[in-house]
């Protein structure tokens, strides 16, 4: 009886661990796209994040082998002025979603190591504040695209 009790306990611990699994395990990424700009100009990356977990999670940024630097930014317009500012993290509420879209939150991709052109797929590793990561493929769209569908 003892060994099986131990294994039950272990299983229980594992399950408990599962309930507190890494943030990235509960996040689904969709509509991931990059607006490609000419030359080595910085580009904006957009994605919709859905969290099916019972706890909020927070995106803190991303890494990429294609861009030397990636920052989480937010654009805002107030008093007829547009500006961009850096943000530390963006919360994805429990059973909710966060949208990175033009004129709001975006990942700013800087210093491409090789030219990225419309139609390319670029993998970004999304980083969450608990240290977990989610590799996501972003499709590169032309400069004058309005969203990920090509309109």
């Amino acid at each position: 009886m003892k060994p099986s009790r131990l294994s039950l306990l272990l299983a229980g611990l594992l399950l408990a661990g599962g309930a507190h699994a890494a943030a990235a395990d509960h996040v689904r990424a969709s509509h991931a796209w990059i607006r490609v700009l000419p030359g080595a100009l910085p580009a904006g990356a957009y994605v919709t994040l859905e969290n099916d977990g019972d706890q909020p999670v927070a995106l803190s940024g991303a890494d990429s082998t294609v861009y030397a630097d990636v920052m989480l930014h937010r654009s805002s317009t107030a008093g007829g002025m547009s500006r961009m500012s850096m943000v530390d993290s963006l919360e994805v509420p429990a059973h909710g979603k966060a949208v990175l879209a033009p004129a709001g939150y975006h990942l700013m991709l800087m210093q491409p190591k090789a030219p990225v052109k419309a139609g390319d797929t670029v993998r970004l590793t999304l980083k969450f504040t608990d240290g977990s990561t989610l590799a996501t493929d972003f499709v590169a769209r032309p400069a004058n695209a309005l969203d990920d569908t090509g309109h």
Binding site: A43, M86, P102
Partner: protein
């Protein structure tokens, strides 16, 4: 009964007189949907360099309806969105759009060269022109339209952040300021107002 009958005539007379008055000021009143700035902002005037490296002035764009917008190429989010939306507006205008030019004025003279501006604006629309100039010329143009921009150092790596006016100023083909569109303005309204300015049947 009698006064009632004369009223439409008086109204017509009044309308006619108003038309003459406004006509005297130079522009025909048009039923704009966006903020009408006719007579409230100075005519299009500047001395800048276009994206082919040629010196240009406001007078060089007489004969075209001008959409004036301030921004910078290291702006990966709001500027491209605005220019992409203007491209859609131009597409919706069809052949009439050939009578319009998008003038994208850089507020970042330190980084924006004519060559970079050329590549940038053409990625959005063939009827867009990038304009650069020294800080003073750009400031003069910006002040002329009560627009503003600031540059402030951001992080230790020496980069800086730019904030800039988000409005789009529309001028008729005589260089007269006519309407002001904010980025949240509906595309339908912008198409509607540009149509009024571009259609020779409406605005000869």
């Amino acid at each position: 009964m009698k006064p009632r009958r004369t009223r439409p005539f008086l109204l017509l007379l009044l309308l006619f007189a108003t038309g003459l008055l406004l006509g005297g000021c130079g522009s025909t009143p048009l039923p704009f949907r966006l903020t009408n700035i006719s007579g409230h902002m100075p005519d299009l005037d500047f001395r800048l360099t276009d994206d082919s490296g040629k010196p240009v002035t406001g007078a060089d764009y007489r004969g075209k309806v001008v959409l004036l917008y301030f921004g910078y190429t290291h702006c990966p989010d709001v500027c491209p969105l605005t220019l992409a939306q203007l491209h859609v507006v131009m597409q919706r205008l069809g052949p009439l759009a050939d009578g319009a030019r998008i003038l994208f004025v850089s507020v970042d003279p330190a980084r924006d060269t004519p060559a970079i501006m050329h590549a940038y604006v053409n990625a959005f629309d063939k009827r867009a022109v990038g304009l650069v100039g020294d800080a003073r010329s750009v400031e003069a143009l910006s002040k002329r339209y009560r627009s503003a921009f600031t540059r402030e150092p951001s992080s230790a790596d020496g980069t800086y952040e730019v904030s800039h006016s988000s409005a789009i100023y529309v001028f008729d083909n005589h260089g007269r300021a006519r309407v002001l569109a904010t980025p949240s303005a509906s595309q339908d309204d912008l198409v509607h107002d540009l149509h009024l300015l571009l259609d020779p049947g409406i605005n000869p």
